[in-house]
Point group: C2
Chain length 271, copies 2
DNA sequence: ATGTCTTTGTGAACGCGTGCACAAAGATGG
DNA sequence: CCATCTTTGTGCACGCGTTCACAAAGACAT
């Protein structure tokens, strides 16, 4: 899972809770898999297991969409696939632009899940003139100068930012100005956008750090109870590494070339 | 932001709420930037703005860590950087393995933010024998056969899965068996793991679908009030595309090669 | 030393999300 | 047509997270 939830104050979109919206894609994926196996119906219990959620939660989620189930039987797979697709707006094709065709941008461009899921890569955009015209994933990379024209000509409303952090806000501003109202941001920066524009963030660094926190806690639990027998042999090595670091002078204020920076590389991309 | 939050039932880790833990990396990044500019102190207001959150929320978050601020002045940047780093477990180096060196895996391997942030890529692992030995980001790709040995030898407790969905669960099982207790999953699958193992998911598809939902809602608002003047000219094109799709027979159950699949490609990776 | 001004730390209220548990709905068999 | 059994849909309670608003703490000037 990625991080960041730069949403508007949660304007309960049309009665469907944000938390539910975030799970609909999960249900849709599970349902699509069932559909491929020609399974006609599923119970909330089965589908919930496949999606990795609680069955009560799933039923409540579906109740926001309407009563699409049949008591005693379950849900019609095909029908539900359609209903959720419609609710998510996947019955139409969303043109998407990807800005920043580095390692990550290229990986995104090559992602096969776009077309089959209601999305279409309208253009790949990069600031490097040397990249211009070079084909990536079958599309010629366009130069940043053309950004506004591309957005406008294709009616693009969703943009993906895979640039270094330093360029992200500027790219974001241009996208928004050109008419983009939804942005998926892979750059490790907080984007400032006007009211009405949605931003979602995907950040490898943050995810890893959250994992590290829990990892440390696990190791600490094994070590804290005064030399309790190391539970799992596998964790012992990590646990041993938990040493008390040198305390920093509380009052030491002045200058400070702190830790190595990283704020300028995209969340997932070589420098 | 990515999606998925496959956490244990929220065992309020050592008194620090999950929501707070998820924001600490954000604060840390903002603080690191300030540190580089040799800013000695920040107020909760300034830091909150830089991190894109509410100042009250930030103060409450910090209160869980202890009282590290000075009333009337603010927070000592260097000290706070150290405290948060320590809390997140970044004062030690976490060896990480990346499994699945496709387009995305390579992008992750090249990510420069690892070393400077408390993480170190211990090894790149791929199932393709042809990849074995090939250098990616300065490291030779190792074959899957060596997975267990690599984990064990390096004391790896964090694994990144960037394989196709079909292989993800199997890889996951092997990682867990070898001693990995934290997993960052880029494959579009629900991973099943034993108690005590943390999984975080990053899924491009889900993020885009959530954006599409809100995008559709925006378009609908402009269109619903009976031909209200199209607010932004930019959205008019998209709004026009919102047509009522053909209803699916409610009872049509039988077989059904539904929509194009995609469940077998990693969240971000070419087929 | 005293007063003023800034900023933290937190008590309390509120709202969202989750999960339990059950009644209602419908299918199925006799 | 009736009884039974399965599964949905939801009322309700609980807990987490967010936000407001303010008292306490300290810096700073006089």
């Amino acid at each position: 899972m990625a991080t960041g939830r730069t949403h508007r104050p949660a304007t309960r979109s049309r009665g469907i809770p944000e938390a539910t919206v975030a799970r609909l894609p999960l249900y849709l994926r599970a349902l699509t898999a069932l559909s491929e196996r020609s399974v006609p119906t599923v119970s909330s219990e089965e589908l919930a297991a496949a999606a990795g959620v609680n069955s009560a939660k799933l039923r409540k989620d579906f109740s926001y969409l309407g009563s699409y189930g049949t008591r005693g039987v379950g849900y019609d797979v095909e029908y539900l696939v359609y209903q959720i697709s419609r609710e998510l707006g996947l019955t139409q094709d969303w043109p998407v632009v990807i800005v920043g065709i580095g390692n990550l941008g290229a990986a995104l461009a090559n992602y096969g899940g776009f077309a089959s899921r209601g999305f279409r890569v309208a253009a790949l955009i990069d600031a490097d003139p040397a990249m211009a015209g070079k084909p990536v994933a079958g599309l010629p990379v366009r130069h940043t100068d053309e950004l506004e024209a591309i957005i406008s000509d294709n009616g693009v409303s969703i943009g993906v930012i895979a640039t270094p952090a330093g360029a992200a806000q500027q790219v974001c501003d241009r996208l928004v100005n050109a008419g983009v109202t939804s942005i998926l941001n892979f750059a490790p920066t907080v984007l400032t956008v006007p009211e009405g524009v949605d931003v979602r963030k995907v950040d490898l660094s943050i995810e890893l750090q959250i994992l590290a926190f829990h990892e440390q806690r696990k190791a600490g639990e094994d070590a804290d109870p005064a030399a309790s027998a190391a539970a799992a042999a596998a964790t012992s090595a990590a646990a041993a590494a938990v040493a008390t670091p040198p305390p920093v002078a509380r009052t030491a204020t002045g200058a400070g070339g702190g830790k190595g920076p990283d704020g300028d590389v995209p969340a997932v991309m070589p420098a």
